[in-house]
Symmetry: D3
Subunit: 152 residues, 6 copies
């Protein structure tokens, strides 16, 4: 139990990190401000770079790009209630379980960028065999393997 | 970055917790020992109780019960590389995304038992709107709502 | 043939309805205004009533409720580029194909409210056998059957 | 081993049954004849009885009922290239993997009617853990358990 | 608004087209006649051309090809109760939601051929974020983008 | 008819093969012995060869490789209660229905290796149109077609 309390306390720093990047726009409720907050989220996950896919999408699918930036990233991904590590690891697990290996790769990359270890990503993919079966886990392992090869 | 390092360090206690419950059987490779380790995992998540569903399954579907206990719980769920909180939150996210609300409820219950807060579970379900859409997130919110009402 | 032409003409009111509610809030970009636009969308589909589910969700899952109202309804469902009939029929088809029969029922109810005929809903469910197979179509037919019985 | 050989031999009647009903209508190409062939398939799987669900569906969803009878049963399920046992066991596996437990129950019932053993059905559900994960296999085991309790 | 009215009016030809091809074969109940009706449906959607995929399938998978032509196209897709625009837009939505991007592309192409606008297709893909999540909508947007580039 | 009887008889060798490999390791309960039994299963399905994919996986994802070999193959696939033909045909059906065409190809290859005919595989894929719809069946037919071209 003490260990549980201790763990509870140790999540504070990552919450503060999230908080640190949000002061300017956490209360933002206009679409423009939400989009800007989404762009900040991406840069915090993507080594300071904007997402190049989003830029291309903005020309042809402006509503979808805005929804991705203002809603998915600006509203959901910027929420303070979960630390970034848990969020990225859960995103990797969900994308792998749904067979969305392209998106899994994006989130696995973000996870590595914020300090999640290769071993943790591999554990998460191993875990996927239970809720979603072996084909999804094996496909995810192959995509992760490619990503790690590129990074090395 | 310091925050990241600090967070990395703070996961140690939860790893130690996992380690603390495993000393007897971590190296177990016989089916019997793996099943016993699976039973320990359940008890550590389920307030010291065995899983009653497993007992019923053991009579009619002995291989499936053994696979659940020895493989899903004894091999996968007992791995030390991820802390229990991250694992349960990811399990909740994956079950919600796949539409497996019954299993989501089980893992949400375990999560609460080991100190995950209601707010964190709600954040995870909110997050699910992005990878899996609103119907799955809303269905999960209704099941979580029932679970929380029971607990209060 | 005449029936087709007649149906075609009867879509005009629903187009006009969409048009009628847009001028006021189409440019809305604050979360509050987007939520209000979402509430208008529901009332236009739900015989002037608010969605009672949303009210309950707002207490326990305020972000999810806001996302449903401001994003799903206020941003997506209120877009002018598709008429309400096409949107509701597509929503019925998608929900049936994904096995989300509860949501299918909600959208089938909205579709009936705005003048989609029972026959059109049945055709859409029949169509679902091709992309998603017979179990999903048959499950959808049973849920639609219950809804129609209630309405009669 | 003996049990395996014995089981192998007991499939002969179901093959002969398939053969017996095919000569009359195998060349049927009108919708009426295909529907009649579908009705024969059901009776051969359902202890001589028609499917009561189909009768209800015929009133409200006549095209869907015709498609189920003439296409799903009359065209697909009546094909001679696979024996009935293999077809029913595969249907049980597929329905379980897709989470369609209602349809799985129907096909598990047909399987029992044509001589598939309870043990074979349980093996198939156990197998499902590998391609589709544990939640789908466990849900299928619970539905099969109910069916077996009813039959005993 | 004017654009909406204009679009509404432009659906008349596609309705008339459906009507025009139905009198001849609507009562067809032999497999041959149903297949011929299916081939007519394809030609009406595919700028007068037969589907080349179907021709290849006919050699190796004759039953599947016949089912596609006689059932999926000849029975389901030729039904008079929904106009072609609604049917194609719903098919695009369903295929995108199920992650079947190859088939989505085929139906998006048919939709463009019968006068559905690029904007309407983009709206439909944007809508998919709500029932099926962002990864499916984004994947669909990329495939549609390729199709539009080819057409320009 | 004769063809059916003949096919029935040709399943005997594959049953005997299963029987032949079981006496040695059926009681194995250590992970090492279960893995060895899994390797035997692969060799019996893969013309005496080990699975090259598994070897690569073992280096980067050792737990996943062990789970595949000891659990999926050693525990599940080696069970005596279903003959190899039924198991492989069901695996092909399930993988096709889930859209896992890569895994479907692997199991279709195993099926051919143990004497399942091309026609039986085609029948199984045709059957998939009913539970899972046409896109999954057509995608599976294309992958099977490639496999058959390679084998000829």
């Amino acid at each position: 139990m003490n260990a549980l309390l201790r763990r509870q306390l140790t999540t504070l720093p990552s919450l503060l990190l999230t908080a640190a990047l949000l002061p300017l726009s956490a209360q933002a409720t206009t679409t423009e401000a939400r989009s800007e907050r989404g762009a900040e989220v991406i840069r915090s996950l993507n080594q300071g770079e904007n997402q190049s896919n989003l830029k291309a999408m903005r020309e042809e699918f402006p509503f979808l790009a805005e929804a991705t930036e203002a809603y998915a990233l600006g509203d959901v991904w910027s929420r303070p209630g979960l630390d970034n590590r848990t969020r990225q690891l859960a995103a990797v697990a969900v994308m792998a379980a749904l067979g969305e290996v392209g998106m899994m790769r994006v989130h696995a990359g973000y996870a590595l960028n914020i300090g999640v270890s290769e071993e943790e990503l591999k554990e998460m993919i191993y875990l996927i065999t239970v809720p979603a079966g072996f084909p999804r886990a094996i496909a995810a392992s192959q995509v992760l393997s490619e990503l790690l090869a590129e990074r090395h």
